[in-house]
Amino acid sequence: MKRQLLNILLIAGLIAIVTSCNTKSSYKTLIITGRNTSNWKESSSVLKQILDGSGLFSCEIATNPKSAGDTSSFEPDFSKYKLVVIDYNVDSWSEKTKTAFLDFVRNGGGVIVYQGASSSFPDWKEYNEICGLGGWGNRSEKDGPYVYYRNNELVTDSSAGIAGSYGKLSEYEVRVRNLDHPVTRGLPVRWMHGYDVLYARLRGPAKNMEILATAYSDTAGGGSGRNEPVLMAITYGKGRIFHTTMGILGEGGGPAVHCAGFIVTLQRGAEWAVTGNVTQAVPNDFPNAAGIVLRPDYKEITLEDDFANIVNYEISKSTKYLTDLQARIRKASGDAKTLLKYEKMMVSVLKNSEATIDSKKLILRELSWMGTDYCIASIKELVKNEELKHEAEFALERLNVEK
């Protein structure tokens, strides 16, 4: 009882330390929302969860305006923040607020343009330069060219036409166009994104703008037939802007914002916008061409989650806890101490009478190459088990490779 209490106190203390560290080093962020055409109450809360969840940002939400059409009282003190997230697309701001925002960006403030925010302020020239590309609001060829990819070629197309459209909502594949940019470095070049709207035919000044990733807007679903930009990096003055067209809000968040690809690119884009670099490692669950990966609670699964779930693994269930463990093993890059820690946890699965046969089969395959003497006795025990005999023999044969 005493020990339990001590443990609780210790954990509470640790949490306090971690939290205070976070607060201390995190970048103050302002999310501007309110009277957005989409579900802004929820979207701003999702954005806050995602950015705060990285441990790098602490977000405040500014709602504007308090009543319809009245933007005069909206005068945030941008100088308090390192990053401003625009989740807003309705009424114009006061000249004073516009000037303050431009000063913030010109002087090196970071900006995230999120989804529908690129449709805001069609007549505000500087804002459109900050977004790079935008849509709707009577934008047309007068506002700038279409910019997209045809096969592997960047196309700047000044032909006349509307700005902003989208086809049928779907999962779609994102194609990274620059693997050397801090935001996209280390990502898979192709990855599946959760069910979302895909903006097409955006146009704008596209000055100092680099397209980081595109997605194909399929004509079969009423799309443009172009590889449309979905992630963009823009500079304006000394400021950096990360523009994502992804992330429509659905019921309870929904797959577009639960998508690990959306979450992680937002976190990385935000860090780049503030510092020009990205220190966050690419997580194990970043999606790839094989399929989408969703994080319903916006969090990466932990090593403890892996083992809590691997013991229940059966064919037909999700393989994500096992593949997560495999990714951890790869990332350990042969570090003996880390691998032994995993090995001990894996052996505890082998010894666990409640653990499924399928989970043990999978563990035995991994141990067959990365195991040490620690696992051998437990594997020998399993040779006697008719259901595990082949896998146990397979593992022992490989482990004894040098005998």
Binding site: N152, R175, L179, P188, V189, R190, M192, D285, P287, N288, A289, A290, G291, V293, I315, S316, K317, S318, T319, K320, T323, D324, Q326, A327, I329, R330, K331, A332, S333, G334, R365, S368, W369, M370, H390, E391, E393, F394, E397, R398, L399, V401, E402
Partner: protein, 437 residues
């Protein structure tokens, strides 16, 4: 070649033995006896096929296109539907009903007397069946990649060499003029001193999740299909899609190593050696039974300073194909007859009489048959095939372990890494073992 006479004697003796002991008159049908002014019987190559799925059948058709130069007499497959279709193809060509069928390659090998065999199987079966075919002293047309593990590959290379058979790998790009031309220009220094190579292979694709266990179709011998691989329940994945499961294949990387890495090695003069350092990363599916990397990107360093980067094509500006970079230019080759260079004049260059002339073949299957007759080495012999897939397999090990792998290409061992060394082989499920050579 010294063994030419003995080889033909062997074939003749085999035919006599068959006729005498097994009494299978179909083995030498009347067409093969040279009636109607066709080829003399000694020139008709008697063939069988093991693995008659899509690639196996495609190869059989390519041999049959050589109008009367080969005659298939027997086919073997674990799927009765494949077998039936292959027999129909052979019987239609032979205008008889004599093509023998086998579900078990051991019976096929025990009963058949062949000059040559065409083999197209999932990779996990290559170690046993290629080696056994070589031990039968049959000449082999074998699909790439020639092995699932380095250890399988070493056994196969030894079996082919020891038995002195003619081996042709299904690396047919060697018999296409653009690949040949690119490799020949590079090896003769037309882009200067070779520094760096890129091999762009296909990206991986969507997964299928984890389909439920289902009843094995009655035409499929699932136990035999698995063979030396670990026993798993049938979930509707066997033909074709086996290449997305690590037990049987390394995915696009190992499937295509025998094409664009093979061509890279050919032009670089690296086809009898291997890298000394291999380091890189893979991207793996999160969900489902398909578990091969969908992206891969690793760098190999060779002892002569050349570097080769192997990656899925979307990671390269040049995309699919092989690109050699020398100190004065580059050459890129890919399927569809593609060849390009940093300066188009490079492609006009003539190769002088005293320069290196790479082996020339216009038709990959004809080349094999010609070599079966002449006893000369074919254009895609065993060692280059082994060295090409070794690059892919060592890359796979580097990605699996997350470590830089040090490889000794002469002794063919990984240096100083026990865990990685274990990945050079996969234990076989009993009763299967790698044959002794």
């Amino acid at each position: 070649m010294a063994n030419k006479t003995s080889r033909r004697d062997f074939v003749k003796r085999s035919a006599v033995a068959v006729a005498g002991v097994l009494i299978l008159p179909e083995i030498i049908p009347s067409t093969a006896l040279g009636k109607g002014g066709k080829l003399p019987p000694s020139d008709r190559i008697i063939m069988g096929a093991i693995g008659t799925g899509s690639q196996g059948t495609s190869n059989m058709r390519d041999f049959l296109d050589l109008k009367g130069q080969v005659e298939f007499v027997a086919v073997c497959d674990v799927d009765a539907l494949h077998l039936k279709a292959a027999k129909e193809l052979v019987d239609k060509t032979n205008k008889n009903t004599g093509c023998r069928t086998y579900g078990d390659f051991r019976e096929f090998m025990a009963n058949e007397k062949l000059d040559a065999v065409s083999i197209a199987l999932p990779d996990h079966w290559h170690g046993i069946i290629y080696s056994e075919a070589a031990n039968k002293k049959w000449d082999v047309y074998g699909e790439k990649p020639i092995c699932r593990t380095i250890s399988d590959g070493q056994t196969i290379v030894n079996a082919v060499k020891k038995n002195n058979i003619i081996w042709q790998t299904g690396s047919w790009q060697r018999s296409e003029s653009n690949f040949h031309r690119g490799a020949e220009l590079v090896i003769n220094g037309r882009i200067g001193k070779l520094k760096y190579i890129e091999a762009g292979l296909p990206d991986g694709g969507r997964g299928i999740g984890t389909p439920p266990v289902q009843e094995v179709p009655k035409e499929l011998d699932w136990e035999m299909w698995l063979g030396p691989a670990l026993k798993v329940p049938y979930r509707g994945v066997a033909h074709w899609d086996w290449r997305w499961i690590l037990d049987y294949s390394g995915g696009q990387l190992t499937d295509w190593a025998g094409h664009h890495i093979d061509i890279a090695n050919w032009g670089a003069g690296l086809e009898h050696t291997g890298p000394v350092e291999i380091e890189g990363q893979g991207v793996y599916p999160r969900e489902g039974i398909f578990n091969v990397p969908v992206e891969y990107d690793f760098l190999c360093k060779y002892s002569n300073g050349i570097e080769m980067r192997v990656a899925n094509a979307s990671r390269f500006k040049m995309g699919m194909g092989t690109t050699w970079y020398g100190d004065i230019g580059w050459i890129h080759v890919d399927r569809g007859g593609k060849i390009a260079a940093s300066d188009p004049k490079i492609l006009e260059e003539k190769i002088g009489e005293n320069e290196i002339h790479l082996y020339k073949s216009e038709n990959h299957w004809q080349n094999f048959i010609d070599c079966v007759r002449s006893r000369k080495e074919a254009i895609a012999p065993i060692e280059p095939a082994y060295r090409a897939i070794s690059v892919g397999l060592l890359g796979e090990i580097a990605m699996t372990t997350g470590q830089k792998i040090l490889w000794d290409p002469d002794k063919e061992v990984i240096i100083g890494n026990q865990a990685a060394s274990r990945l050079l082989s996969r234990p076989y499920r009993r009763p299967w073992t790698l044959p002794t050579v």
